[in-house]
Amino acid sequence: MSGREALKRAAACLASIARSRWALLASRLVLAGVFAWAGWAKVRDPVASVQAVRDYRILPRGLDTLVGQGLPWLELGLAAFLIQGTWARTAAAVASGLLLAFLGAMVSAAIRHLPIGCGCFGETSGAGITIWEILRDLAFLGLAVHVLALGGSPQPEPRAWAGSEEEGPPE
């Protein structure tokens, strides 16, 4: 019984940490850093970026060029939104979609034993997708979902009916 209580308390504690503005800020900034790095590496070398997309052999020709050249700009834009904060949730939503797509691509490449690098940060060579790259993607996805789920307007829906909470500062 007390064990259950402790578990409950720990969960509540974790939830309150996750909801705290500092945790959200940390998630936003780390995610922004990741996307800024990835975007910058690819913008600097669009040839390699297109090749990285092509290596996955998923998209048809033509589309892979567009994605390879457009993706880095999208990543840089997401980074900017995440840092600035006003549109951080939208950015987190798009980032989640993007990270899910990357996950799918990496898993499919791993299943097909394609001898490629993940191309995530501008690198184009490698001996195949590793489990670490997939776990890394999942970790980033966690950050994105964190910002998406909790990074919205401070004190979201409950305000509408819990009148007493309206008195507090909107943090």
Binding site: V43, Q69, P72, W73, T86, T90, E123, E157, R159, P170
Partner: protein, 255 residues
């Protein structure tokens, strides 16, 4: 979010003594604002990507290959122009298999098939692995100004050391070619490489190769037959022999 700011303002007004019972109305108003406030950032994001693509496209305005350099689009050639068999190799200077082929197989091929007049060998740089591939190809083409394309090519390939890790930067290419003792005029080479004289050529070569359906390096085209990947000297000789037979010249080129 624009909706948040409105809400904050609303909260302040309420704290300052507004009517206390407008909570529900506020919430629905905000939810409506929320839907449109998703669209605005998404639109801005889309515009940003579009702008980035356009900027990239404008930065590299379909560079036209100057007319006096268009000959290089046919590839660099070795051997008798009227040799019975033509072999085209598409290769990237950063491709490890290409480097291995160049050092292990090409010398034999050159001695036994090219120098004997059986094969006209055409090398087409297909630079897709990264910027360093492009620079390496530009450096080799710059050496062709001094009639040393294949010598420079060999030097670059023999200095292969991984992909996109700073091995084929312009200064390093200049120093490796300068120190190789193949009789290149270093100053001329430097001027050529740094002015980007061949950048449009290298880019067009890549586009042409893609248009020709080249998907991997090395790719060999032996008398019209496309072969992807490494070919040992024996396999290469066999392919050439086959081509010779097709032409009714089935004499054994080897010993």
């Amino acid at each position: 979010m624009a909706g948040d700011k409105k809400e904050k303002g609303g909260a302040k007004r309420r704290q300052a003594g507004g009517p206390p019972r407008e909570g529900r109305g506020k919430a629905t108003a905000r939810r409506k604002g929320g839907a449109s406030s998703w669209l605005l950032p998404l639109g801005v994001l889309a515009l940003l990507v579009l702008a980035g693509l356009l900027w990239q496209a404008s930065r590299r305005p379909q560079e036209r290959v100057p007319s006096h350099l268009t000959g290089h689009l046919e590839g660099e050639t070795l051997g008798r122009p009227d040799a019975p068999v033509t072999v085209v190799e598409y290769a990237d200077y950063q491709c490890p298999v290409c480097a291995r082929w160049e050092t292990l197989v090409f010398p034999t091929v050159r001695k036994e098939l090219v120098d004997t007049g059986l094969v006209r060998f055409v090398f087409k740089p297909f630079s897709f692995i990264g910027r360093e591939s492009v620079w390496a190809a530009e450096a080799a083409l710059c050496a062709s100004d001094q009639g040393k394309f294949f010598e420079a090519s060999r030097v670059i390939f023999s200095n292969w050391n991984g992909e996109n890790r700073g091995n084929f930067t312009k200064p390093r290419l200049l120093s490796m070619l300068g120190q190789a003792g193949i009789g290149l005029d270093g100053a001329r080479l430097k001027e050529c490489l740094e002015s980007g004289r061949y950048s449009a050529v290298v880019e067009r070569l890549r586009a042409d190769a893609e248009a020709a359906g080249v998907r991997a390096t090395p790719t060999f085209v032996v008398d019209g037959e496309k072969i992807e990947g490494y070919l040992s000297a024996e396999e290469f000789r066999a392919k050439v022999e086959l081509a010779l037979e097709r032409k009714g010249m089935g004499r054994s080129p080897g010993p």
